[in-house]
């Protein structure tokens, strides 16, 4: 309980710090954030958007691990964790996409630019979408668990290919590369601390929500066994 309250406080402080610490050209005070030309206040998104994208990836990896575990042991509990994690991942994926897209509108001038990051989150969105489309199309819990785990593994295995592919096509697709690289944020210590705290805070938040989801699923599972 205490831990959860601490997490609440932790993220509250990060939100306050992330929004209110002043951005100055020459950071002198401990609370000063560095000025990034062309981004100004818009640089603050890094404290919230990047953790969301990170959680999206983390959720997918956890879903994948438990999917493999399910295939090995056929323990339906592993599928509960796997699908819950994927569900949360989809939610965070949508959040990350929307926040990123809004930010891109104000920084790059359009909602979508097919920048490498945008493409990778788009692919994750597609995979999550396909994963749940598949789940809803299969009857029988065991079959659903097996096939969706297999699908997640196959999809997961193709994702790393984008690392090699994106640099090859990014020139043709992405006119804003210059801004992205110019806008590469050189963080000072304050910024880094807030960023890392936010990353850890979001990770903890994810595990908490995941835990809640898995517990509800387990209860439902138990209930359906009793009702038999």
């Amino acid at each position: 309980m205490l831990l959860k309250l601490l997490l609440g406080l932790w993220l509250t402080l990060i939100i306050i710090a992330g929004f209110s610490f002043p951005i100055t050209e020459t950071p002198t005070n401990w609370y000063d954030l560095p000025f990034v030309p062309g981004l100004e206040d818009k640089a603050r998104i890094i404290f919230f958007h990047v953790p969301m994208a990170w959680v999206t990836t983390l959720a997918f990896i956890i879903s994948l691990i438990y999917g493999i575990k399910y295939l090995a042991k056929k323990e339906i509990d592993h599928d509960l964790i796997s699908s819950s994690s994927a569900g949360l991942g989809l939610m965070f994926c949508i959040l990350a996409t929307v926040t990123g897209s809004l930010w891109a509108k104000f920084t790059w001038g359009s909602f979508w630019n097919w920048d490498p990051r945008e493409t990778s989150i788009f692919v994750l969105l597609l995979i999550y979408g396909a994963y749940f489309a598949l789940r809803s199309a299969i009857e029988g819990e065991e079959k659903k668990a097996t096939l969706s785990a297999v699908y997640a593994i196959i999809a997961g295995i193709t994702v790393p290919f984008f690392i090699f592919i994106m640099p090859r096509i990014v020139e043709g697709l992405h006119p804003n590369e210059a801004i992205v690289s110019k806008g590469k944020i050189s963080m000072n210590r304050t910024m880094l601390v807030i960023f890392l705290s936010s990353l850890s805070g979001f990770t903890a938040l994810f595990f908490w929500i995941l835990n809640l989801r898995v517990r509800t699923e387990r209860l439902e599972h138990k209930q359906s066994l009793k009702g038999d």
């Binding site: 959860k4 309250l5 609440g8 993220l11 509250t12 939100i15 306050i16 929004f19 209110s20 206040d41 908490w208 929500i209 809640l212 517990r215 509800t216 209860l219 138990k222």
Partner: protein, 44 residues
């Protein structure tokens, strides 16, 4: 009024986000408590 709002836009956003976060957080906390209670009920 409008001037005040546009000059302090950042803090207004901060306020909105904070309210949203506190709402989500307290919801999660209540859900957690309820789950613990339900799990106890189920064990009996």
């Amino acid at each position: 009024m409008y001037e005040f709002l546009s000059q302090n836009a950042l803090y207004i956003v901060l306020l909105i986000v904070l309210i949203g976060w506190v709402g989500i957080f307290s919801y999660l906390l209540r859900l957690d408590k309820k789950m613990t209670k339900l799990e106890k009920m189920f064990k009996e």
